[in-house]
């Protein structure tokens, strides 16, 4: 198909429909409002159901219901709205309910600002629900990647029976770019829903539950998740891009919008003779490990639109916290390529 020009949020809505999403529940919040706006119009035409929920909490729990019944389902929100959904995400994890959570970050904490940020890295990768758990977090850096990530998120969710988060910053949500909706994503062999979903039990009812009263059984369920889900995800679901890393002595580490700013900064720095590249995690959990084993790299310069939330992950991955430096803006401010160049020069200058 020919490319069309779309806003990230609209494209996210369309990608969900193309991925077979049959149920969407959400509550309005900037800067993701075009997602529910688009789906309220288009999802019913595609045979799906759109619900404007009475709250973010209601929306995630509607997913718990729709996903339990075997429907591909999605909710979408932004930072404080995602904060409200945390308890429900935990229930979807422990109940093994596949669902997709689209998170379009703005500056925080609290209501903060409607301007874009990446201050929800910890919220996405550590989560705010209780207990031991992980959910896969995909971090697109373009509208095309957002479309592909949404489609893939549904596949991952069904394959592992887990919530999957697509973490976009407000810029990706609001930006316009050309996009091709026919680009295929990896299809998986998904266990038939009739094996577990509600309504297929035929006298031997399937049960979806977030409670295991018996402690040994509760531990066993936790252990099973780590062995059968998280270890497998860490082995098979890691995605990253390496940009100009072949001869690099320094590496930016960035995802989403800030990775694009870094790419522009790299051109300037290379013109000045600094051999710098970019490691761009496309999954924030599981976090890439391999590109950080590169022994040629003297310093990893983490660039984010937050106060350095990814730094611990980079330090663990490269196993040398002295090699990890940080530059960022927060609270809805976007660093310019010039600022990133200046910060990198200062950091590198100090190292030599």
């Amino acid at each position: 198909m020919a490319k069309v020009l779309m806003k990230g949020n609209e494209a996210t809505g369309k990608a969900a429909i193309l991925a077979g999403c049959k149920f969407f529940a959400g509550y309005p919040i900037t800067p993701q409002n075009e997602v529910p706006e688009y789906l309220s119009r288009e999802l019913p035409l595609a045979g799906g159901t759109f619900v404007q929920a009475e709250s973010e909490v209601a929306a995630i729990n509607m997913l718990y219901g729709a996903g339990s019944a075997g429907a591909r389902c999605m909710t979408s929100s932004s930072s404080p709205g995602i904060a409200l959904k945390q308890e429900g995400i935990g229930y979807c994890v422990f109940g093994e309910v596949p669902c997709v959570i689209n998170s379009v970050s703005r500056g925080g904490p609290a209501l903060g600002t409607i301007q874009p940020s990446q201050q929800d890295y910890n919220q996405a990768t550590r989560g705010g629900a209780n207990g031991d758990y992980h959910i896969p977090v995909l971090a697109p850096a373009s509208i095309q990647e957002a479309v592909d990530a949404i489609k893939e998120a549904f596949e991952i969710a069904d394959f592992y029976r887990t919530p999957v988060m697509v973490l976009q910053d407000g810029l990706i949500g609001q930006m316009m770019e050309p996009v091709d909706f026919d680009k295929p994503v990896k299809k998986r062999e998904i266990p038939p829903k009739s094996e577990w979903a509600l309504g297929y039990g035929k006298g031997n009812p399937h049960i979806i539950e977030g409670i295991v009263i018996d402690a040994p059984a509760c531990e066993q369920k936790n252990l099973r998740f780590f062995k059968e889900k998280y270890e497998v995800m860490e082995a098979n679901e890691v995605r990253y891009e390496e940009y100009m890393m072949d001869d690099a002595e320094y590496a930016f580490v960035a995802y989403g919008s800030s990775s694009r700013i870094c790419k522009t900064a790299i051109k300037t720095l290379r013109d000045k003779g600094i051999k710098i590249g970019l490691i761009r995690p496309k999954t924030l959990w599981p976090f890439p490990q391999v590109p950080f084993q590169n022994k040629n790299i003297k310093l990893f310069i983490d660039v984010e639109m937050n106060m350095g939330q990814m730094v611990p992950d980079v330090a663990l991955a490269c196993n040398d916290k002295n090699k990890v430096k940080f530059f960022g803006r927060c609270g809805g401010m976007i660093p310019s390529p010039e600022e990133v160049v200046a910060a990198a020069e200062k950091i590198i200058g100090g190292a030599e």
Binding site: A2, K3, V4, L5, M6, Q115, Q174, K263, T264
Partner: protein, 228 residues
């Protein structure tokens, strides 16, 4: 071209058609030519990012008066200030009005309707045929009618702003021109301008420019950062 348009230029169009980028380029070019006071109003109370008010300081430096439609930077409450009325009635002004997208974006104009002399107004519709809702001649005409019904103005000119951002080719503009010509024939609305970003459309030639309709004007990106 810029000076031949009516004193009040209202820029409307489909959501995401490139109204703001066009309006900001237009007003800066107009300022260089006009002997009048030049003002731009950002009446977009729909969008949250990429609004012309973000370029307020840059425009003011060029001697352009800028009115924006939000109260305070922290609350970002949409509001239409009374000052926006002045250039509608004060004939000392050349006025550019940047509306929000779609027919809903035109609703704010109603508040000023009784003060506007329609003979002084050009009401332009910016079109990018690669946007999903204006990909066919029929869809373009439907969008035109919706804009007219809701705003209470007649469209006086199409603007061919067909683009795929940094992937735009001269061929794309010719394709947009073809569809808009057909829409123009069916509706009687002329194509007033064709606009393209010079640094992006590298294969543009004088020959292709001569084939495109209306005044063909190169734009520069004001709203889109270099890394976007």
């Amino acid at each position: 071209m810029y000076l031949d348009d009516k004193r009040v230029r209202i820029i409307s169009g489909h959501y995401g058609s490139g109204k703001t980028e066009f309006a900001v380029n237009y007003v800066t070019n107009l300022k260089k030519l006009s002997k009048n006071k030049v003002a731009i109003s950002d009446m977009d109370i729909v969008n949250v990012y990429f609004r012309s008010r973000e370029k307020k300081d840059e425009l003011i430096k060029q001697g352009i008066e800028v009115f924006d439609s939000s109260i305070g930077s922290s609350a970002d409450l949409p509001a239409i200030p009374k000052e926006m009325l002045v250039p509608f009635v004060d004939k000392e002004y050349d006025y550019v009005v940047d509306l929000g997208g779609n027919e809903v974006g035109t609703i704010v104009l109603r508040r000023f309707r009784e003060h506007i002399d329609i003979s002084e107004v050009d009401f332009f519709m910016v079109v990018n045929v690669f946007r999903p809702d204006t990909q066919t001649v029929d869809a373009i005409i439907e969008q035109k009618e919706r804009l007219e019904t809701t705003s209470g103005f007649k469209i006086t000119g199409f603007i061919n702003n067909t683009n795929l951002v940094r992937e735009t080719s001269a061929e794309d503009l010719l394709y947009g021109d073809k569809l808009l010509k057909e829409a123009s024939e069916k509706t009687g609305v002329p194509i007033k301008y064709t606009s393209y970003v010079k640094e992006v459309v590298k294969d543009m030639t004088p020959e292709i420019i001569s084939k495109l309709s209306g005044d063909v004007i190169p734009l520069k990106y004001y709203m889109r950062e270099v890394w976007m």
